[in-house]
Symmetry: C2
Subunit: 196 residues, 2 copies
Amino acid sequence: MNYPNGKKHHSLQRKGEAETKDSFSNRGMTLEEDINITNVYYLESDIAVIHKKPTPVQIVNVHYPRRSAAVITEGYFKQASTTDYNGLYRGKYVDFEAKETKHTSRFPLANIHDHQIRHMQSIVNHGGICFILIRFAVLDETYYVPAEKLFPYWHDKLTGGRKSVPYQTIKQNGYSIPFHFQKRVDYLRVIDKLYF
Amino acid sequence: MNYPNGKKHHSLQRKGEAETKDSFSNRGMTLEEDINITNVYYLESDIAVIHKKPTPVQIVNVHYPRRSAAVITEGYFKQASTTDYNGLYRGKYVDFEAKETKHTSRFPLANIHDHQIRHMQSIVNHGGICFILIRFAVLDETYYVPAEKLFPYWHDKLTGGRKSVPYQTIKQNGYSIPFHFQKRVDYLRVIDKLYF
């Protein structure tokens, strides 16, 4: 929600971060918020149909009050078995995960789960477009990293190698996504280059 | 979960339904349960990667007890903005909704929401495979109905026409999916016929 003075609605700001950075930056939004805005833009412009999956919740108890909506009174967060985002673009299946890190020299692989990697490998095997969006929050840089580029590092980690991907590797093997006002994380442009 | 004597675990049975029907039928499972089992089979056999999306929940309050998992103490069900299932098969994007009805002569369109139809139209426009699985529970018959076949009926309803699709129309325009022990709702076979 944008106010006439150009200030953003409070709820869209990253917690604890004042609105100090101006103009050409993401101005304190999380990667997830930026992607959601981008996906809404894609959807409303009829460019692509890509959604974030809901957070998986194990519902244990539901209360049904009279004349009002059912209330979940006990629930637990479940671990997602897939990536967070998927959808359809130019006839192709698109699937990705988004991760933000405060590190500036590396991306820790602990950010990704084993079953997510397995899912990504299946997607690649079955002909889908699969990648991860990595934001280095402090540097304010966002990269599109094809899943295929990530797998060798995952394999290294499993076989006792390093537990992170160096920033320089991501910069060289990934595709930088510049900030754009409406398409805040315009990852489809990278797909256009790579697949069409 | 199957027990050695061939009886199913209680939780897999439809509520209030005794295990009276034998052999070649879905034996009291809901359509959703059958689809989930089918999708697991597809996934584990490396045939397709298709998942049900989690139920969307608006989380209002979370309690963080010491030394144990976070508990959602207040949450509400949100209406889904898309269909329930999507994924990837033979390089193609697949998207569908599943609905069960106790009616035997018609499928009431009230079962589907306006935004779900809009979503399905987008999927078709962008080159995805989109359909609805309809089960007539009393008849124990399940049909694959291509989204394109559903749209005219939706249009009729919006312009004051009938609010349901006759069973005979579904039987003629849809594709019957016979029950199969492992692939309980083998909808990919219909896709094979229609798209490959």
